[in-house]
Symmetry: D2
Subunit: 135 residues, 4 copies
Amino acid sequence: MLDLGRKILASQPFSVFLDAELTGLSPGNAELAIPIRPEFGQQHGFVHGGIISYAADNALTFAGGSVLGTAVVTSEFKINYLRPAKGDTLIVRASVVHHGKRQAVCRCDVFVLVSGNETPCAAAQGTIVRLSSPR
Amino acid sequence: MLDLGRKILASQPFSVFLDAELTGLSPGNAELAIPIRPEFGQQHGFVHGGIISYAADNALTFAGGSVLGTAVVTSEFKINYLRPAKGDTLIVRASVVHHGKRQAVCRCDVFVLVSGNETPCAAAQGTIVRLSSPR
Amino acid sequence: MLDLGRKILASQPFSVFLDAELTGLSPGNAELAIPIRPEFGQQHGFVHGGIISYAADNALTFAGGSVLGTAVVTSEFKINYLRPAKGDTLIVRASVVHHGKRQAVCRCDVFVLVSGNETPCAAAQGTIVRLSSPR
Amino acid sequence: MLDLGRKILASQPFSVFLDAELTGLSPGNAELAIPIRPEFGQQHGFVHGGIISYAADNALTFAGGSVLGTAVVTSEFKINYLRPAKGDTLIVRASVVHHGKRQAVCRCDVFVLVSGNETPCAAAQGTIVRLSSPR
């Protein structure tokens, strides 16, 4: 399943552009890692919220896809930023809270890895839906 | 105010990296435009949700900052994707719904510009907070 | 359409229990009013957030139903409380941001009416979905 | 801490009106139970979303209050309804994801108890803030 997930991630130009890596994928769970680059910052020297929300969105999609199949998109999500992120790598762990045939409600936690220690920087929750037909 | 806003946007490495442009800023309102590049796609050929959520997050921050001052961050937001985005430019218009001294609740609408026509692709709502001290 | 809406509201025991009234319903828009009673308070003397969230949820559903048909439910929503509510009546105005055949994304604003003046007390955004079959 | 929490719940007229009971409260965690009454229904015979959102909102507030002190309110939250709720009792378990001095980000899961079995019916996430001064 992880191999298939990595092929899908590699087919997302934006994820390739940001060097995102799928580090885990099993039924109901997904983990993404994104090495932090200087160009990911905001004006105060921390990681821009936009890349954290990208990471959350994408991890939610992969978690949802792990139970719904590959033809899925994020329909909506909400994110709370917990504290400013600064460090080496963003790590997002997403899991399915509940799912039917058509949609999955998922949560994720975003951490920043600094010198081997993880600190939480965001928490998100959203809905992933199956595409009804090829787009 | 627009000039100051543009300086702040120019000091965000991630916004420079994505070529985001601040096209409007007045008390209570902000508008961002992001020319769509091939590297912003997802696997189905549409704009990746992650860049739409970046755009929404940042426009919300600028709208909040227009009434709270420059030292602000997005504390949380939620976004609904309305339909797949494909086109030339993402345009986000954000406005303040209500604010006090410390925080502002803002909304924004994201459009994709295709051959001169705007179609809505996402709607977001969130909280912008003033940083209590220099970081 | 308003008459049909009122019949539906009258068939919701919880809405009857709270004396909610549907004061407007047209394609894409809904308005609810709830006279504030002493038993709706929280510990600081203001209206409990729970009744504000009920009002927002229900107004979103009616707005969605105005374009999707009567067999709808709220799938998810988010609400920001803007300031403590104290007054005579809660008024919620909801409108459809975008809809397809199966779901509608809607927003609403909640006001409290005090001596004839409305002040905003909450803002919400959510997804209304059509039930696929009779339940 | 549970005794203090119960006093606070008993001072909320809306919670008394709905017969909500605080069944657990410890640093970082809160549990509410609400016996389901016929007047809590919606038009399809299930529990109205509005009472589920009340329960989620209030459980989030108690979880936040367990680490921030008693003078707290819910600032915002989002809720996903997972499936229609029918049964004997609503049970909500909330926990703190992260907190500072002024605010806490919390999550909760709502279950419906039917013949001794719990099934999940909603999931929520939100922000609880400390009131800066007596209101």
